[in-house]
C-alpha cells in the first residue's frame, strides 16, 4: 500500500495540516491525512501540528498514543487486520489468527522480515454474519479459512 518515503519535509507536513484548520476539532482529520500519506505519524509532524493548533506537544502525543489506528513507526507495505471479536471466534477466528501469525513467524502488530505485511488485531469489521473476517488494506474478506488466508498473504507478498 505505502511505498517507503524519505523523511517528509516540514512543508509537506504543513500542507496536510493547513486544509483542516478551519474545522471544529481538526486534530483527528489531520492525523488521518498524515498517516494516509506517510503510513505513520512521523516524529516531526507532532510539533508542527501542536504549533498549528496552538496546543502542547504533549497533547498531540497523548492523542496519537490513545488511538489504536495511529502508528509512530511505519508498518509493512500492506496491513492485514484479522478480527478477534466474538462472532468471528464463534466461527474459528482465533485458530485462523494463530495459524496466520505462526505461518508468518510474527506476533500481533508484527511485520514480516521482508517488510511486506503487518498483522493487526481488529475488534469487529461488521462482517459478523460471514465470519471469520479480515481486511487487507481497505479490502474486506469474509468466511476466511486457512487456504483463503494463504492466498491473500501470497498476493501481498508475505
Amino acid at each position: 500500500m505505502h511505498t517507503r518515503l524519505p523523511v517528509p519535509s516540514d512543508a509537506e507536513i504543513s500542507a496536510l495540516i493547513a486544509p483542516h484548520l478551519a474545522l471544529e476539532g481538526p486534530l483527528l482529520p489531520i492525523l488521518h491525512d498524515i498517516q494516509a500519506r506517510f503510513g505513520h505519524v512521523p516524529d516531526r509532524a507532532q510539533p508542527l501540528i501542536a504549533e498549528a493548533l496552538n496546543i502542547s506537544k504533549a497533547e498531540v502525543h497523548g492523542v496519537v498514543s490513545f488511538y489504536h489506528d495511529f502508528r509512530e513507526v511505519p508498518a509493512g507495505r500492506h496491513v492485514v487486520k484479522i478480527c478477534r471479536a466474538e462472532a468471528c471466534q464463534a466461527m474459528g477466528g482465533a485458530a485462523l489468527a494463530e495459524q496466520t501469525l505462526a505461518r508468518l513467524g510474527i506476533g500481533w502488530h508484527g511485520t514480516t522480515a521482508n517488510g511486506a505485511v503487518t498483522v493487526e488485531p481488529v475488534y469487529c469489521l461488521g462482517l459478523c454474519a460471514c465470519a471469520p473476517a479480515a481486511m487487507v488494506d481497505d479490502k474486506v474478506v469474509g468466511r476466511v479459512d486457512a487456504a483463503r488466508m494463504d492466498a491473500l498473504l501470497r498476493e501481498v507478498g508475505a
Binding site: L27, V63, E86, Q89, G126, A129, C130
Partner: protein, 505 residues
C-alpha cells in the same frame, strides 16, 4: 433488463465485486442491453453475493453467485431463489427502517424519493420544533445504540437549551461484535441517515451535524461521503434545506480505532480532537456536548428511523412492538448461524424462535450452546432462556440486554471460560483508563480466570467479587457491563469452569 449486485461490504467480502465485473464483461461480450445497479444488501448474508434480475416482472433472486455462474445467470439457466421478497427470511420481516435498503441505488436521490424518501422531512418542515419533538416522543422510539433511552426526551432537552449553536451527532462507531445494522444502512440507504439528522436539526434547533464513523468501515465512509456531496448539491443539506430557508449541514468524521469512542462523551472528545476518555455525567451532552454546547447524540439506526416515523406517522410506528419497546428492532444475526443477516421485526419475537426458526440454528449443524445478545458487554443467554421476548424490559428481567441488537450464536464446542476471559481481555485493551476498577480490574480478571483454568477453585469467588467491584466502580458501561458476559458464562455454564479443576485434581 436490470441486474442488481450489492455494493455492501458483506457482499463484497464474499465476492460481489468480482461477480459484478464478470457480469459487465459478459454483457458486453453478448451485446446485451443491461443496466447494472449496485444496490445495498437485502440483509440475507448467507446468500451473498445475492444477485437480482428484473426483466420487467419483479426482482428474481440468485445466490450465492460466483463469477463462474454468470453465463448461466444471463442464459436464464441458473437455479434461482424466486422473487426476492418471497424468500421466507425476508417475507416474515417488518421493514420500516430498512424499507429501502437493498431495494434502491443507495446514491440515487431520485430513486430515494420514489421510495418514500424525503416525505418525512417535507412533513417536518411544516411543523414547529415542539411538534417535531412531540412526534418522536409519541412514536415511542428509544435509542438503538444500546441504552434504549427515549429519543423524544433527549431531543426535548436539547430543544429547551439556549445556545448560539447546537449540534446533531450521529454515532456511527458501531464497535459491538455481532452488529452491522449501522454499516448496512449507511452503505445501502445513506440518505435516510442524512434525512433523519436534518429532521433532528429542525426539531432541536441545530444547524450543524457530524457523523462519527469508525475507520474499520472504509466502504461506509465512501458511501456516506458521496451521499453528503449529493445531498448538498441537491439542496437537501446547506443554507436552505429544500428551499425552506432553514439551514442544516453535516460532516463525516472518521474514528481512529477505539471501541470506547462509541460511548457518547468519549466520542465527543474524539470529535473535538482529544483523547477519547469518558467524561463524567452530568453535564449531559444534551446540555454541554460538542464544544460544550447542546448536542443530540443518537445512534445511526435511531436517526435512520426518524424519516419513516414522519412519513407514516408516530402512531403507525408505535403500533408495532411490545410493552415499552415500540416499533421495530433491527436484529443482526451473526456468528455460528445457518442464516445470518439483518432481520427487522416488531419487538416481541422470542429469542428461540429467532435463533432456531429464522436463523436455522448453527452453521456447523451442532446444537446451540449460547447466544451473546447486545455485543461484548451483553450476557451469554443459555438455551434455557430462549423463551425471552425481545424487548428492553424483558431482556433486563432475564439478566441480559438488547443493546444494539446483535446476536452472536455459539455451538456446543465453545469454551465459555475462554469467552469470559476474552471479555476481560477486550475490556483491558479498550479501557479508556479513567477508572481503576475497569483499567486494572480487567487485567486482574484475566489473571483470575487463568487461575480458574489451572484448577484453582478459590479463584471463583474472587472473580465474582471483582465483577461486583467493576459493576459498582466504573464510570461507563465498558467497565460496568463487562461483568455481564463474564458472570453469565460462569453462572450458566459452570461445567466449563469446573471440569478443568477436576481434571487438575
Amino acid at each position: 433488463m436490470k441486474i442488481y449486485v450489492p455494493l455492501d461490504s458483506a457482499a463484497k467480502a464474499l465476492g460481489a465485486d468480482e461477480v459484478a465485473e464478470a457480469i459487465v464483461a459478459e454483457v458486453a461480450r453478448r451485446g446485451l442491453a443491461v443496466e447494472l445497479v449496485r444496490n445495498g444488501s437485502r440483509g440475507m448474508v448467507w446468500l451473498e453475493p445475492l444477485v437480482e434480475i428484473d426483466s420487467g416482472s419483479g426482482r428474481l433472486a440468485y445466490g450465492p453467485v460466483t463469477p463462474q455462474d454468470v453465463p448461466a445467470l444471463l442464459d436464464g439457466t441458473l437455479a434461482g431463489l424466486g422473487p426476492v421478497e418471497a424468500i421466507p427470511f425476508f417475507a416474515r420481516q417488518t421493514r420500516l427502517t430498512f424499507a429501502r435498503c437493498g431495494v434502491i441505488d443507495p446514491l440515487n436521490l431520485r430513486d430515494y424519493e420514489a421510495h418514500g424518501g424525503l416525505a418525512g422531512l417535507r412533513r417536518a418542515l411544516e411543523m414547529t420544533p415542539a411538534q417535531i419533538v412531540q412526534e418522536v416522543t409519541d412514536s415511542g422510539l428509544r435509542g438503538r445504540g444500546g441504552a434504549g433511552f427515549p429519543t423524544g426526551i433527549k431531543w426535548n432537552t436539547v430543544l429547551g437549551a439556549k445556545a448560539p449553536q447546537k449540534y446533531i451527532v450521529c454515532n456511527a462507531d458501531e464497535g459491538d461484535s455481532g452488529t452491522f445494522a449501522d454499516r448496512m444502512i449507511m452503505e445501502g440507504d445513506p440518505f435516510t441517515v442524512i434525512e433523519g439528522m436534518v429532521i433532528a436539526g429542525l426539531g432541536v434547533g441545530a444547524t450543524r451535524g457530524f457523523v462519527f464513523l469508525r475507520s474499520e468501515y472504509p466502504d461506509a465512509i465512501k458511501v456516506m461521503n458521496a451521499a453528503v456531496q449529493i445531498a448538498r448539491g441537491a439542496g437537501l443539506l446547506g443554507a436552505d434545506v429544500l428551499g425552506s430557508g432553514r439551514a442544516f449541514d453535516l460532516e463525516v468524521r472518521v474514528g481512529a480505532g477505539a471501541y470506547v469512542c462509541g460511548e457518547e462523551t468519549s466520542l465527543l472528545n474524539a470529535l473535538e480532537g482529544k483523547r477519547g476518555v469518558v467524561r463524567a455525567k452530568p453535564p449531559l451532552p444534551a446540555l454541554e456536548g460538542f464544544m460544550g454546547r447542546p448536542t443530540v447524540v443518537n445512534n445511526v439506526i435511531s436517526l435512520a428511523t426518524v424519516p419513516v416515523i414522519f412519513e407514516k406517522g408516530a402512531t403507525h410506528y408505535a403500533n408495532f412492538g411490545l410493552g415499552r419497546s415500540r416499533g421495530t428492532v433491527t436484529l443482526q444475526i451473526a456468528g455460528n448461524v445457518a442464516r445470518g443477516g439483518l432481520f427487522e421485526t416488531a419487538f416481541g419475537m422470542r429469542l428461540g424462535e429467532l435463533v432456531n426458526e429464522v436463523a436455522g440454528g448453527t452453521a456447523t449443524g451442532r446444537p446451540v450452546k449460547a447466544v451473546q445478545v447486545g455485543g461484548p458487554l451483553g450476557a451469554y443467554m443459555p438455551v434455557s432462556k430462549f423463551d425471552t421476548p425481545l424487548g428492553y424490559e424483558d431482556f433486563d428481567a432475564a439478566g441480559g440486554l438488547i443493546g444494539h441488537a446483535g446476536l452472536v450464536v455459539f455451538d456446543d464446542t465453545t469454551d465459555m471460560l475462554g469467552m469470559a476471559r476474552f471479555a476481560m481481555e477486550f475490556c483491558a485493551v479498550e479501557s479508556c483508563g479513567k477508572c481503576t476498577p475497569c483499567r486494572v480490574g480487567a487485567v486482574r480478571g484475566m489473571e483470575t480466570i487463568d487461575r480458574i483454568a489451572r484448577g484453582d477453585a478459590a479463584a471463583v469467588p474472587i472473580l465474582t467479587d471483582l465483577c461486583e467491584t467493576m459493576k459498582l466502580g466504573s464510570l461507563c458501561a465498558l467497565g460496568g457491563f463487562t461483568p455481564f458476559p463474564v458472570m453469565s458464562a460462569l453462572t450458566h455454564f459452570p461445567d466449563d469452569f469446573a471440569t478443568r479443576k477436576e481434571a487438575a485434581e
